[in-house]
């Protein structure tokens, strides 16, 4: 892939990637959140595929396919399963309203650029210039994790954090060594499975996956 087309494709994928994270702050229905996560997973797979096409790296293309499958297919499917039919379209409650959330997202994106300055400074390659967007998604994920009260929304926040890190890993160094990538993906898959089982148990015990029911442990 030539320089110009590469940069454009990369920016497109990275833009979509960030847009999904911001949209998570905007949308409140749990089902929509899971769909957004799937789209973001696909964008992430696409991002890695663009990198693979640029460096004509067949192994990396395989990794792109695997990650796309995991993050756009398996994980959203598992989460969707956890949502079930139970009040799936209910609004999820947040401690912060939508305009304030979007404002916070803008702040977090700016913060991501500040924090990533030493990383971007190392190399002027287009992939590296896009890396702050991964950091931004990482930060927005933490924001979702801290401000949402519903179990599934918190899981979505955790997955945003993870997607952000994966993006940074591939934009900076074409991914970490394969053993680590495999281990990390396996750990992630298991963590999501655990979250799925837990949300099912929470719903069975508390009647709903609203974490406001979880207020028994305190000092």
């Amino acid at each position: 892939m030539s320089g110009e087309a590469f940069t454009q494709a990369l920016d497109l994928a990275a833009g979509l990637f960030l847009l999904c994270a911001v949209a998570v702050l905007w949308r409140r229905s749990v089902r929509a959140l899971v769909r957004l996560l799937a789209v973001q997973g696909a964008a992430l797979g696409g991002l890695i595929a663009v990198l693979a096409a640029h460096s004509t790296d067949a192994a990396l293309a395989g990794v792109a396919l695997g990650i796309g499958l995991l993050k756009a297919g398996i994980i959203p499917w598992l989460l969707g399963h956890a949502v079930g039919g139970h009040r799936a379209d209910a609004e999820t409650e947040s401690l912060v309203n939508v305009p304030a959330s979007l404002l916070a997202a803008a702040g977090l994106v700016a913060l991501a650029y500040v924090v990533s300055r030493p990383i971007v400074a190392l190399d002027p390659s287009p992939a590296l210039q896009t890396a702050p967007l991964g950091v931004a998604v990482f930060l927005i994920g933490f924001f979702v994790l801290l401000t949402r009260r519903r179990a599934i929304s918190q899981a979505v926040g955790f997955l945003l954090v993870d997607n952000g890190i994966t993006a940074v890993a591939f934009l900076t160094v074409d991914g970490v060594p394969l053993v680590v990538e495999l281990g990390a993906s396996l750990d992630l898959l298991l963590a999501v499975l655990i979250l799925q089982v837990l949300t099912t148990r929470i719903r069975r015990t508390f009647g709903d996956t609203d974490l406001d029911g979880l207020r028994e442990l305190h000092d």
Partner: protein, 490 residues
């Protein structure tokens, strides 16, 4: 042969877990689990003897690597693991006899507990920062359902917080690891092997490494229970079954701190020692302050033990911040002493919960008079925990504070000493209330003890802690060699 020896502490528990998966819970499986923990301790000892006077052993092209520090941590995992595993058969038998839980629940418990031991062993024999991260994240995965074993509402809440906060925290450490790799690739050493990264002349980029080091400390600090990332710890450690709390409080937190220790030499070489030490000193003081305040106001005995773990992690972070060879040696001694004491106390707290049907501090009274056996081991444990001699915690606390003063952290050490004193007062007050307090005219229960051996793991842990004081001089060569791994030099 070397590879086999390095792999043994991981493979042993994995085999025990496989046996539990195939056979379900039964006494023979319990024996296999205890055996696998003993095997970990033994292989730790053999490895320590090998690496003390020789080079580090490696396996799988450097993915696994055992030096004096790894060998020492294996000893800690194995010894505390043995104590905790020894209490499991009784716990599951009582559960079965009282008709709680299910056969499948017990099978899962018997699979996950040795799995937990295996992941901790993998973390300490990993020779690669990536494998280290994968192993520590895997501890969250295997312990999730151990924490939630009782399936009560509280256990469910604790598990949820633990998995979400633990995974998100540890994900932060992964971002840090990725950035270290990025810096390494740029410096022309595409590796995550810490032996290579801490070697002189690696020239990792300063700016990138500053961000990476902060992220790594945030991430592994969450898992170690350092304030302000400790919110999940009191919930998880107080809701888990006693054997699991013993392992999580006694070893897992230390394994996470071990990960931070591994980053110390790399961070020192790349950005100088200042950044990580300042961050560690701040986390140390915060942890000590938070735990002292919440220990004073505590009403639940398992949460009291959990906050005491936060306090001890703060002290360990202070030792790591001091960073001298003496300080790191004392940190390691404290890790072992605290592991033995805390696991003993958590196991005893499980016995108290079982016999008194409560973990509320004010509802447990006159324990020494009513249940002398239980009261004695609980009292002895608390005395050891607050660091009165002959507990080895006394020795390590004094050395850590002294080393912090010597390293120029005078005010931090002074603040830490005051906060430690507050925590001491809190634990002593709660402890005397439980052991001696309460109405005198209450009828003294003389319930026959069903089994005099029930408190044995608790006593063994305390005996180990006291023995450690006497035996510390014998451990000096190993402690010193392990500390040298962190501080550099020989």
């Amino acid at each position: 042969m070397d590879t086999l020896l390095v792999l043994l502490p991981v493979a042993g528990p994995v085999l025990a877990a496989a046996a539990a998966g195939l056979l379900g819970w039964r006494p023979a499986v319990g024996l296999a689990i205890v055996g696998s923990a003993v095997l970990q301790a033994l292989s730790g000892a053999v490895l320590a003897a090998r690496v003390l006077h020789g080079p580090a052993l490696t396996g799988f092209g450097g993915l696994l690597r055992v030096d004096a520090l790894s060998a020492f941590m294996l000893l800690v995992v194995g010894t505390v693991g043995t104590l905790a595993a020894a209490s499991v058969p009784r716990y599951l038998a009582e559960e079965q006899a009282e008709g709680r839980g299910s056969e499948n629940g017990r099978r899962l418990f018997a699979v996950l507990l040795p799995g937990f031991l295996a992941t901790m062993a993998l973390a300490v024999v990993a020779g690669d920062l990536g494998v280290l991260w994968v192993a520590i994240e895997a501890t969250t995965v295997v312990t999730a359902f151990l924490v939630g074993h009782t399936r009560s509402r509280q256990a469910l809440e604790a598990t949820w917080k633990y998995v979400v906060l633990g995974s998100a925290g540890i994900a932060t450490a992964f971002l840090g690891t990725v950035l270290v790799y990025f810096a390494a690739v740029h410096a022309g050493h595409p590796t995550l092997s810490w032996a290579a990264l801490s070697a002189p002349g690696t020239h990792l980029d300063r700016g990138v490494m500053r961000v990476a080091v902060a992220l790594v400390l945030l991430g592994f600090g969450t898992k170690a229970g350092l304030a302000p990332m400790h919110a999940w710890l009191p919930d998880a450690h107080s809701q888990a079954p006693a054997a699991v709390s013993a392992l999580m409080s006694g070893v897992l937190t230390s394994v996470a701190l071990y990960a931070v220790l591994r980053y110390l030499p790399i961070a020192s070489a790349a950005v100088g020692p200042g950044l990580l030490r300042t961050l560690l000193a701040v986390a140390a003081l915060l942890s000590l302050a938070v735990s002292a305040a919440l220990l004073l106001a505590q009403r639940d005995l398992k949460r009291m033990l959990a906050y005491s773990t936060v306090e001890n992690m703060g002290l360990l972070a202070l030792g790591a911040a001091a960073g001298s060879r003496l300080a790191i040696g004392a940190v390691l001694l404290h890790v072992l002493g605290h592991g033995l004491t805390k696991s003993s106390l958590f196991l005893t707290s499980g016995r108290i919960h079982h016999s008194e049907h409560t973990t509320r501090i004010e509802e447990v009274t006159r324990l020494l008079a009513r249940r002398p056996g239980l009261g004695r081991v609980w009292g002895a444990g608390l005395v050891a925990l607050v660091g009165l001699p002959p507990s080895s915690l006394f020795l390590s606390e004094v050395v850590i504070l002294g080393a912090a003063v010597a390293a120029g952290l005078v005010w931090v050490a002074a603040g830490a000493a005051v906060l430690l004193l507050l925590a001491y007062v809190a634990v002593a007050r709660h402890g005397t209330g439980m052991l001696l307090g309460g109405e005198e005219d209450e009828p003294a229960e003389t319930a026959p003890r069903r089994d005099r051996w029930a408190d044995l793991p608790g006593w063994l842990g305390l005996a180990g802690c006291a023995g450690l004081t006497a035996g510390a001089w014998a451990a000096v060569p190993l402690l010193s060699a392990a500390a040298a791994v962190v501080t550099g030099g020989s």
